[in-house]
């Protein structure tokens, strides 16, 4: 180990436990599920047919389950209703159960046999929800060629939902069947007739309410490409990208935003809120005036951060800290390749129906120069996570400022501190955030990061600074 990672590891605050899990292969899938009804969740690694279970998501306590050859769909759920989860999988036409932590048989226990659509699936097992809740005991939801069948663990048919011709599921993109000629040919010689053929068969059954929804809800915001952000400023408010101001009022109160210029230096924001009309009980939506804020949105995720925990989304804007060329800046840039940026938090003020023009908190960071050039409208930071790490209901913030580093800032009563609450250095560049979950069930979010040959889980521990939760207006008896 070289000196620098050692020093940085020592400097890292103890607020997080850094747990390291080996990555058995590039195709391995990490996921979380709960086996015992109480206690922390488990971390699972599905690598081909080998499923490794890290108990309580700790790297030092694990066991393996070898799935049967030909296994396709895999679920971790409580099938027999005893509160403990087991592995339920499909292998060819067989439905197989593996008890956890110790299967009764190394090959699992055959539940019953049924030809499903999974029989001809890919060679690698994949995660799929097979077990669905029922009033009495859970059931297995199995797609056959003609229907979705609900069966008990013994194989008894509980319900049958035929594939309705009226419920053809639209593919995510494109058409159900398409064939288009490539002109000129791309793989064939000149003069040949070349065609691309794509076919997606995705009929869906009509299901009762308790089995809905089939998929996640639709997107509740308009993201807006960088170009649309620039063009929006000259267009009516209806055309502006937006994000919801409150989760419970997804489609009503919105913050509309646009770039003030093509250089993405300032952000224009309008608030669209319901206004009472003359008719009794009727409402109409009006967009307020465009207000200018310095910088661009750091994140355009569905859930905007709520730094002060008042249930309203807040603005987090970024801008380069120094546009001027100083000897200091040039020296720093030449030696470290980094350039400073500022993050500013503008809290939403419900009573004024606007974001506060004064920054509630300002954070100064440095990011690699090359990251600035990737996308003009995007913050030069990677692996952004907005979550509550210390359970105080305020949104905290984590990101990579270099390829091999991850840092976390807690948002406290005074806002962000310039020094990160925790900082981690890794041997190789981080590739992505695998997931963010409250593994211990204590309201504190863990971050799982995918490295070159490892997965790192940053788990908040007892040393995590805790701030008193904000007092919400309703707790004071104030009307919003």
């Amino acid at each position: 180990m070289t000196l620098l990672p050692l020093i940085l590891a020592l400097l890292s605050a103890d607020a997080f436990d850094r747990l390291e899990f080996p990555l058995p292969s590039a195709e391995a899938r990490f996921f979380t599920a709960k086996v015992e009804p109480a206690g922390p969740a488990e971390l699972f690694v599905l690598d081909g047919l080998r499923l490794t279970v890290f108990q309580d998501s700790r790297p030092d306590s694990s066991y393996e389950v070898n799935l049967r050859p030909g296994t396709t769909a895999v679920d971790i759920a409580d099938l027999n209703g005893d509160g403990r989860s087991e592995i339920v999988s499909v292998a060819g036409d067989a439905l197989v159960r593996y008890g956890l932590p110790t299967p009764s048989s190394p090959d699992g226990t055959d539940l019953f046999s049924l030809h499903t659509q999974f029989a001809n699936a890919a060679t690698q097992p994949f995660l799929h929800v097979l077990v669905v809740p029922r009033v009495d005991v859970p059931a297995l939801a199995l797609p056959t060629d003609t229907a979705l069948e609900l069966r008990s663990a013994a194989g008894d048919l509980l319900d049958n939902f035929p594939l309705a011709a009226t419920a053809v599921k639209q593919p995510r993109y494109g058409e159900p069947f398409s064939s288009r000629a490539s002109n000129p040919p791309q793989i064939g010689p000149p003069g040949s007739l070349e065609m691309r053929v794509n076919s997606v068969v995705a009929n869906a059954p009509e299901l009762p309410g308790e089995l809905q929804p089939l998929e996640a809800e639709g997107v509740a915001r308009r993201m807006g490409t960088p170009r649309q952000m620039v063009e929006a400023a000259a267009m009516p408010p209806e055309a502006w990208p937006w994000f919801p101001l409150r989760e419970e009022a997804l489609l009503q109160e919105r913050a509309l935003y646009a770039a003030a210029d093509a250089a993405f230096s300032d952000l224009l924001v309008r608030i669209r809120a319901p206004q009472a009309t003359g008719d009794a009980g009727a409402q109409e939506f009006r967009a307020g005036p465009a207000r200018r804020y310095p910088g661009m949105l750091v994140t355009r995720q569905l859930r905007q951060p709520d730094f002060n925990g008042d249930s309203y989304a807040d603005l987090l804007l970024w801008s380069p800290a120094e546009a001027s060329i100083t000897v200091n800046a040039l020296t720093r840039a030449a030696v470290s390749g980094a350039w400073p940026l500022l993050l500013r938090v503008h809290l939403y003020v419900p009573e004024k129906e606007r974001f506060d023009p004064r920054a509630a908190s300002t954070l100064s960071l440095q990011a690699p120069l090359s990251w600035y050039l990737e996308m003009p409208s995007e913050a030069p930071l990677k692996h952004l996570v907005f979550a509550d790490f210390n359970g105080d209901t305020r949104t905290d913030f984590g990101c990579s400022r270099t390829a091999e580093e991850y840092a976390v800032w807690l948002y406290g009563e005074q806002g962000f501190d310039d020094t990160p609450t925790a900082k981690f250095r890794f041997d190789a560049p981080l590739r992505e955030v695998l997931f963010t979950e409250d593994l211990a069930g204590k309201g504190r979010t863990c971050i799982a990061l995918l490295g070159d040959a490892r997965v790192y889980v940053l788990a908040p521990n007892a040393s995590m600074p805790s701030y008193s939760p904000p007092i919400k207006p309703e707790q004071l008896g104030m009307k919003q």
Partner: protein
């Protein structure tokens, strides 16, 4: 002194003309082809290719497309796909086939027959017409067969030599079976986020017909980072049975390759090539430097040529594979900027203070079944960004999108691709190439409107590239037409 008369002889002259509704898309970096909304075919049999659009034909005359020679296409009763075969216009709809020829100033119906077509054309525009190739002469008798695809397979329609009526002859059930779609990883916990997902099945393949042989290419061994391809060739059985000869089929599978490689054709051999590009991060610098890697294999994945060039992250290369020297084989072109060649301190100074950018092109010629180890040809063009790259101005954004440079056109017909560069928002320059030099000799300069797109395409199919100054949304009817500068050789 000998050069001067040669230069004079080779001098170019440009004539401009506004052409409505013609659209040329951006160049595909892998194939060097641009999507168009027209096909080029000689409908009036005067030896010059005309432009066939979905709604009209622009007849070519004296190297241009005069307004008085713009003729509407025959109006079909139902949505129809249009293809052209040896000067004849084929319009086939769900239930009929019509063949027209242009004779003596009008459309003559050669064939009009009912024909049940297996594949429903998608919802077409008001014009009810779509350009779509479906004609191929499988049996080599000079009459094209009609090819249609539906979930059941590939349908072949041929003309009966006696009755001269087209009818379905065979269905080739050779497309790969449906596979379960690998959806994104489903979340199994916590319980509120579990979703019942009904799985979809998918098939994706390409095929091409070459004389009486059909080849199907499909993906195999697919993972997130790698994939393989399987190619199966079939021959149509002799004797007009129209069935595929099982004895004459063969299958070739590639080894697993990086997922960013796409099948393509880089030369004229019988092997499908694979090529693509990927971003990496270099560390031999004071800071992480983006490096663009261009990969190609000419032997079906056995060996690879990899060229690395430092470049701006997210920069879309204009064109990575192109027949630069006119020998029929596509060469590998790498793109970079001199900004990355001067060391870290100088690069930072340029990022912060220099509003001019020198774009570097290097050509690795394809020769003897591979690409040259060192660049065979190099070129460099200068672009005025109006502002330092650090400020991410509109010109830099256009540069990142690969819109400011185009080297797919051969303007003087010498076989070498010439370089068109949008040097400033309203100024475009043409640099002629020559053996051993890409670009370099300034030929001409055009003034163009700032918002317009610049495209290069041989519109009149005379072997010389033409310049299109194309308004945004050029496909829409109410948009003004593209201004086309046709290149011609100076007569003197």
């Amino acid at each position: 002194m000998m050069c001067l008369p040669l230069l004079c002889l080779a001098a170019l002259r440009f004539t401009s003309q506004e052409i409505p509704a013609v659209y040329v898309g951006v160049v595909d970096p892998l194939t060097a082809e641009a999507a168009t909304n027209f096909v080029q075919a000689d409908l009036d049999r005067d030896g010059a290719d005309d432009l066939v659009l979905a709604g009209m034909v622009l007849f070519q005359e004296a190297g241009g497309f005069p307004p008085e020679r713009r003729v509407p296409l025959p109006q079909p009763d139902a949505p129809a796909d249009i293809d052209v075969w040896r000067g004849a216009l084929y319009l086939r709809s769900q239930n009929s086939l019509a063949i027209y020829r242009w004779t003596q100033g009008g459309w003559e119906t050669v064939v009009g027959q009912p024909l049940s077509w297996p594949a429903q054309p998608p919802d077409l525009s008001e014009e009810k017409r779509r350009l779509q190739r479906y004609l191929h002469d499988v049996d080599g008798n000079g009459d094209p067969e009609l090819i249609a695809v539906d979930p059941a397979g590939i349908h072949v329609f041929s003309r009966n030599q006696e009755s001269e009526v087209y009818a379905e002859r065979a269905v080739w059930r050779i497309l790969p079976p449906l596979d379960l779609v690998q959806e994104e990883q489903q979340q199994l916990w916590p319980a509120p986020r579990r979703r019942l997902l009904f799985p979809a099945r998918e098939m994706s393949a390409r095929f091409f017909l070459q004389a009486n042989r059909i080849s199907v290419l499909s993906q195999d061994l697919e993972t997130a980072s790698s994939r393989g391809y399987v190619r199966t060739d079939y021959s149509v059985a002799a004797g007009q049975a129209w069935e595929l000869d099982p004895a004459a089929s063969s299958t070739q599978a590639t080894p697993s390759m990086p997922a960013f490689l796409r099948p393509c054709r880089l030369n004229n051999d019988d092997v499908i090539d694979y090529a693509g590009g990927v971003w990496q991060e270099s560390k031999a610098s004071a800071y992480p430097l983006p490096v663009y890697e261009t990969w190609a294999t000419l032997d079906g994945g056995a060996t690879f040529k990899v060229v690395r060039e430092p470049s701006f992250q997210r920069l879309r290369p204009h064109c990575s594979f192109l027949d630069v020297d006119g020998d029929g084989d596509k060469d590998l072109v790498s793109e970079s900027a001199t900004l990355f060649q001067g060391g870290p301190r100088e690069m930072i100074a340029q990022l912060l203070t220099r509003s001019v950018l020198d774009h570097v092109l290097r050509v690795y010629a394809q020769e003897s079944g591979g690409f040259s180890k060192a660049p065979a040809v190099e070129g460099q063009v200068r672009i005025n960004l109006d502002a330092a790259p650090y400020l991410n101005g509109p010109m830099f954004q256009r540069y990142q999108l690969g819109e400011l440079i185009n080297f797919t056109g051969d303007f003087n017909g010498d076989g070498w691709k010439d370089v068109v560069v949008r040097e400033e928002p309203e100024r475009v320059r043409l640099f002629l190439s020559a053996p051993g030099r890409l670009g370099g000799a300034l030929e001409t300069t055009w003034s163009v409107p700032g918002p317009a797109d610049i495209r290069v395409y041989d519109i009149n199919h005379d072997g010389r590239g033409d310049l299109l100054v194309q308004p945004k949304q050029a496909q829409q009817a109410q948009t003004p037409g593209s201004l086309v500068y046709f290149s011609r050789e100076e007569a003197s």
